[in-house]
Structures are given as structure tokens and as C-alpha cells.
Amino acid sequence: MEFNLNEETVLLKNSAERYLREKCPSSLARELIEDRVGFSKSIWKETAELGWLGLIYDQKYGGFEGAFFDLFILFEEMGKVLLPSPFLCSAVLSGLVINEAGDDSLKNEYLPSIIQGEKILTTALLDEQGGYDAQTPGVEARKTQTGSYVLNGTKLLVPYAHVADEIILCANVKDEKQGGPTLFKIDGNAEGLEKAALDTTGSEKLSALILKDVAASAESIIGSVGQGDVYLSKVMPKATVLKCGEMLGGLQRVVEMTVEYMKERHQFGRPLGTLQAVQHFCADMATYLETARLIAYQAAYLLSEGLPCAKEISMAKAWCGDAYNKTTRIGHQLHGGIGFTEEHDLHLFYTHAMVSALDFGSSWSHRSKVADELGI
């Protein structure tokens, strides 16, 4: 057991922290909430140039063959500033799906442009009820006589769909010979595809996708028919752990800003931080941070090393989601009225916590997976 970061990772972490602190002050994050596009194109370009988008991909696609753990560290840093970015949906989810399921020509066609940030893809995961179940993905693909497909159904809460060049989604192919959950790649402006921007509590731009007789060629299938759930199940663990990193970064900032405020803010003639109730709340926050850090780092490490870690990932996601939520709650309680104002940063983290805890499976569903792993 060694709990320190490797030297190169420390260098990467520090430089990422510096870069993001400079480029993404909270004022930018707020601006982007109001912005239609919802992310900074210049930062997006720079993250590509810094090699972040391609960090874990093969060199032949322009990647850097870096460790997954380092990517996790980047997400932790992005979480600290709540950088709005299609990084996760494009360069992680969509890129990895293609990397996992695509053939060489598909990879050669897409990965370099994803890695360079030239193309933005997104992957639609949730059905109309907000559920994720690749077996019943909420979109149906009817095979036509010509061998192409017609897609109908709804996908919900799809990040950055409004700017995505192409959209990956899982649809259920109805075919007697070979059917089942299948990954399709459709154009962001496909005919019959309605993209409804959703007004949500969080800061990320999310859309509903309503597919009405959207035509998809057989070539638009990624990988094999009926294997969509298998491909996704290989990619989801990574996205889940990166979300843990993002939550961890946010959690850390909430603890920092709250403890700082408790040192400064005076009430009853002395700093609030001298009150025992405040001190105990802060100790609880510190405990959530430390525990979330350890359990998330463990999952990221094991996944990065290619070691078995299904249970560890679910433990991390369940715990980090709860810990982040509880910490932002305490943060609000200690900040009082000021934290409830739009101009304070705290609420950005509060809603981020709430939404992130539900992304890629709720705490309950991950506890259920832990139970599965325990054989109960």
C-alpha cells in the first residue's frame, strides 16, 4: 500500500490545477450557464492541445497512451472548477465506445478528430424515465427491406447533444435472426431527430432526443448487432470512475471554501469556526473528503492497472455521491443565507453533487451491485 501520487502524476496534477484555476474562474462557469453553447471553445481547443483528450488513447490515433489514473486526476481537477466541457461525453464515452466496438476504419476516421477536439460526439444513455438499461434502451430500430434501419424512441438528459456532430445511442434491433441492443451512430442533424434543450438544475447542457423515423444505414452500426450492452458495459466503469474524480474535486472545493469562511465570518463576537457545532460539522466534512478520496483513488488505481474492481468502483460511486451531497448540505448550513444566493459559488457545487450522484447509477444501485459482488 502506497498512498502518494507518482511524481509525473503530481506534475500533471499541478499543471492542470494551475491551468484551470487561471482559465476557469467561477465567473466563466456562470457565464457558460447562460451561454447557449455552454462551454468555452478556446478551453476546449487547449485541452486538446494539452493532450488531455487523447491522454489514454493509442498513439496511432494521436493519443498518448497515458495511464487511466492520470485521466482520473484531470477529472478531479476539472471538478474543482466545475469546468463545463464535452470531455466526458465525447473524448471518454464516445471515444471509448468507438475504441472498444469499432473496426479499424471507424477508429481511424473518428478517434483522431475526437482526440484533437475537432469532432464532438456524445453518447445517449438514458431512456425516457431517466433509467439506464442497455437491454431495454428505449429506442427501437426496425430493419427495413433494404437492410437499413429506422429508429424510434426517446433518449433523455443527453449532454452536449445540441452541439454534437454525431450521437451514439443504443437501440433495440427488432430482427428475428440477429437482434437486441445495438449501438448506432447518427448525425447530430439527422432528419427526424428532435433535440429539445432541457432546463435543469445543474450547469451542464442537457437535451432530450426524440427520434421519429430516423433513418440509419447498416454502416452506422458500431460493432456487432445485439452487442451494444456488452460494449457499453466495458466503457461505463471508466466513465463512472471519472465521474467520481469530478465529484471528489468538487467536494474538496466545498470543504475548502466552507472552512475558509468559518475562519473569517464573525458572529456572536467571534469567528464562527470557534463554535463547537461548526467544528464538528467541519470535521464531518473533512471525513467525507478523506474517505471519498481514498475509495475513489482505489477504484481509479485498480482500473488503471487492469485489476478486477467491479466492487471497488461501485463502492466508490455510492460513497462519493452520498459524501458529496452531505458535504454540500453542511456547506449550505454553515454558509447560511449568503450561500443561498445566486452570486455565491456554493450552489454550483450543490447541484453538481445532486446530479452527479444520480449519473451512471445512483448510490442505491451501486450498493445493489456491491451486494451482487458479495453474493447476496
Binding site: 432541457l198 432546463d199 438544475t201 458572529q267 444501485s365
Partner: protein
């Protein structure tokens, strides 16, 4: 002892329900989970006034009906069930009236009470208590009221003023003794202040739900006649502590997001029981049963507090305990509902996929305020410990 309502009370409740249903059916208002009570609507308040439902506990001589606080709670409970728009008269009815009756001058009572009880023009109140450096610690207020002849000159700043931008009158705590060696507890007075007075500037504070519910209020040489001083000069702190009990004794701290609970229970009845091997439904069932228990207990606490007031007792520790418990329930309801509804809980009103038509998203955003408004849970626990249990201060 009687843990049921009397026939008369049940009849009264039905009368209110019928009224509210007909108003809802007529589209006068719609259920809204943001904010403590439904928004200000003078027209609606007038209808309530006609029924005699403002100042219902006040003595007949002020136009009231001398009914019990338990009956008042039945009234408010029914209003909150559908979040009826009682915001125009709510503060005046809950706090201003009782405070005037307790501490006000004859002129003040004669001038304000009949107007409040009829929801007349100019009778919406806001509360000017908190300041940037006097939140939980009200004794630290620094807004000054300096006497000059028949007038007081007000200078300073208030914050977290709900409805400050629409209210006609403010109910203010200000420091009248400027000798800084005198503790705030003995140096403050209460005033009523016309919000249109020259020298008052109201600046909006947008909250995290994107709503303009709070304000900053600045006072720059604002002049008020001494007839607006309420009660004794420098006796304001003591008065305000007594009034706070009434602020805390209401059922509005339990039911701020009540419509969510009804919707959640209905949702659970309809949900797919076999999802996730039936495990999820079993978990939901247990969570909702626990909420049902907690809600019912909160309701008993509220009615018990009302009953204590009806007995002529000061409900101070009782009201603090009730509010602390109830607001924590409101947060738990919000949390549990979010966990049950999953990702669609983040979708705001407008989209067809929004959980409970966006009510859950609204509650998510208002949630952090539940346990802070009108005294944080921690301040209330201090009151329970010190005043209720008699634990030593030092």
C-alpha cells in the same frame, strides 16, 4: 386529551377545502412548491378576508373571530396543502398583528389591525431583522435609529428581506441606544416603516433557484415618526424573541414542499415493482413509510404547539423543537424523493419528462433554505437546550 378533531373543526376544514377547490378549479392559482407559502395575491387575500380567515385568532374588537390557534392551524394546513397564494397577508397575520396586540399603541392597533384583517391596500409587510453581520445573532444589529424631536432617523442596512421589493410596510429592529458599551439585547427597538419612505433603497438578491425572493434594504437618513415605534424604546429585542415563537410555531415549516409528498406517494403506487429484481421497490417502500411516520409526527408537533399557545403558554422551546424537527423532515423528503425519482428529478418545469412537473427540481433548489430560514436548526437546538432543558450557558 383528544387526538381527533371535533365535528365543528372537521366542518371548518371541509369549508376551507371546498373554497380552495373551487378557487383551484376556477384557475385562480396553481400549486407552487417554491417559497414558504403561495405567492402574494391581494385579490385572493381579500376573498380570505371576506370569509373571516385573516386574523382568525384575533379578538372580535379588532375584527377577528377569537378562534383558537388549533383552528388557525387547520386553516393554514389546508392552504398549504395546495400552496394557496396567501403571501399578501401571511406575515401580517402571523406576526405583525399579534405583535401589535401585545406591544402596540392604541393608535397602531386601531390603524393597522382593521386594515390587515381586511387585506386592504398597503398592508403587505416584510421583516427587517437580519443584517450582514447580524444573522443568527440578532443582538448584533447596527442599523441605527436616532431620535430627533418627534422623529427617528434611520441609517444602516438590512438583508435577507423576503418580499422587500413588494411590501408596503417593514417591521424593523434597529439600535436606538448608540452607546456601544450597552449590549444589543438592551439597545434595540422595533419600528414599522413605510417602504416608500425617501432614503430607502431595495436591491434584489437572486437566490439559487433563480428567484427574486430576498432583498437588501439600505436606509439613508430615513425619517419615521415616533408613532411608528412599537412598544418600548430599547425593549425591542425582548419583544422580538416573543414574536419569534409565533414565527416558529406554524405548520408552514413542515409543509413548504408538501405537494411533493402527495405526488411521491402517488408515484410509488404506480411504479414498476419488479424493476431491479424488486429490490428497488422494497427500498422505496421502506423509505416512504419512514417519511410518512416523520410527516405525521411533524404534524402532531405543530398541532401540539398550537394547542400550547391556546392554553395561554409561551411555546418557546416547543416551537423551536417543532421547527427544527419539521424543517429537517422537509429536507429528508426532498432527498428521498430525489433518490427515488433519479435523473429526471433535475428537469425543471416545462419539459414533459420533469419529475412531478418540475416540482422536484424546484424543491431541490429551494432545499438548502429549509433548515436556515427563521433560525437555523443549530440556533433552534441551542434554544431547546438552554430554554427548554435549562442547560447552563456558562
Amino acid at each position: 386529551m383528544r387526538f381527533v378533531f371535533t365535528d365543528e373543526q372537521n366542518k371548518f376544514r371541509q369549508e376551507i377545502r371546498d373554497f380552495l377547490k373551487s378557487e383551484l378549479d376556477a384557475g385562480t392559482f396553481s400549486v407552487d412548491v417554491s417559497g414558504l407559502v403561495g405567492g402574494p395575491d391581494q385579490e385572493f387575500s381579500r376573498k380570505m378576508a371576506e370569509k373571516g380567515w385573516i386574523g382568525i385568532t384575533w379578538p372580535k374588537k379588532y375584527g377577528g373571530q377569537g378562534r383558537t390557534y388549533v383552528e388557525k392551524m387547520i386553516l393554514i394546513e389546508e392552504c398549504l396543502r395546495v400552496k394557496a397564494p396567501i403571501g399578501y397577508h401571511f406575515s401580517a397575520d402571523r406576526q405583525v398583528g399579534p405583535a401589535l396586540m401585545a406591544f402596540g399603541s392604541d393608535w397602531q392597533k386601531d390603524f393597522f389591525l382593521p386594515k390587515i384583517i381586511k387585506a386592504e391596500d398597503g398592508m403587505q409587510f416584510c421583516l427587517l431583522f437580519s443584517e450582514p453581520n447580524a444573522g443568527s445573532d440578532l443582538a448584533a444589529v447596527t442599523t441605527k435609529a436616532v431620535k430627533e424631536g418627534d422623529y427617528y432617523i434611520i441609517n444602516g442596512q438590512k438583508v435577507w428581506t423576503s418580499a422587500g421589493h413588494v411590501a408596503d410596510f417593514g417591521w424593523m429592529l434597529a439600535r436606538t441606544n448608540t452607546d456601544s458599551s450597552v449590549r444589543g439585547h438592551l439597545a434595540c427597538s422595533e419600528f414599522m416603516i413605510d417602504m416608500k419612505s425617501p432614503g430607502i433603497t431595495v436591491r434584489p438578491i437572486i437566490n439559487i433557484a433563480g428567484a427574486h425572493s430576498f432583498n437588501e434594504v439600505f436606509f439613508d437618513d430615513v425619517k419615521i415618526h415616533k408613532k411608528y415605534l412599537v412598544g418600548e424604546e430599547n425593549g425591542g429585542f425582548k419583544q422580538i424573541m416573543a414574536q419569534m415563537d409565533y414565527e416558529r410555531a406554524g405548520i408552514e415549516r413542515l409543509m413548504q414542499n408538501y405537494p411533493l409528498f402527495e405526488q411521491l406517494k402517488n408515484h410509488v403506487k404506480e411504479m414498476d415493482k419488479d424493476k431491479d429484481g424488486g429490490y428497488f421497490y422494497a427500498w422505496v417502500r421502506d423509505q416512504v413509510a419512514q417519511l410518512e411516520i416523520e410527516y405525521n409526527i411533524g404534524r402532531l408537533l405543530c398541532y401540539n404547539t398550537a394547542w400550547v399557545v391556546d392554553q395561554g403558554q409561551k411555546p418557546s422551546s416547543q416551537a423551536a423543537l417543532t421547527k427544527a424537527y419539521c424543517t429537517q423532515y422537509e429536507q429528508r423528503l426532498n432527498d428521498v424523493a430525489t433518490k427515488i425519482m433519479g435523473p429526471v428529478s433535475q428537469i425543471k418545469q416545462g419539459a414533459p419528462w420533469a419529475a412531478f412537473d418540475g416540482d422536484l427540481a424546484a424543491c431541490n433548489l429551494w432545499g438548502p433554505s429549509y433548515t436556515l430560514q427563521g433560525g437555523s436548526v443549530e440556533v433552534l437546538k441551542n434554544i431547546i437546550a438552554l430554554r427548554g432543558l435549562g442547560l447552563p450557558r456558562k
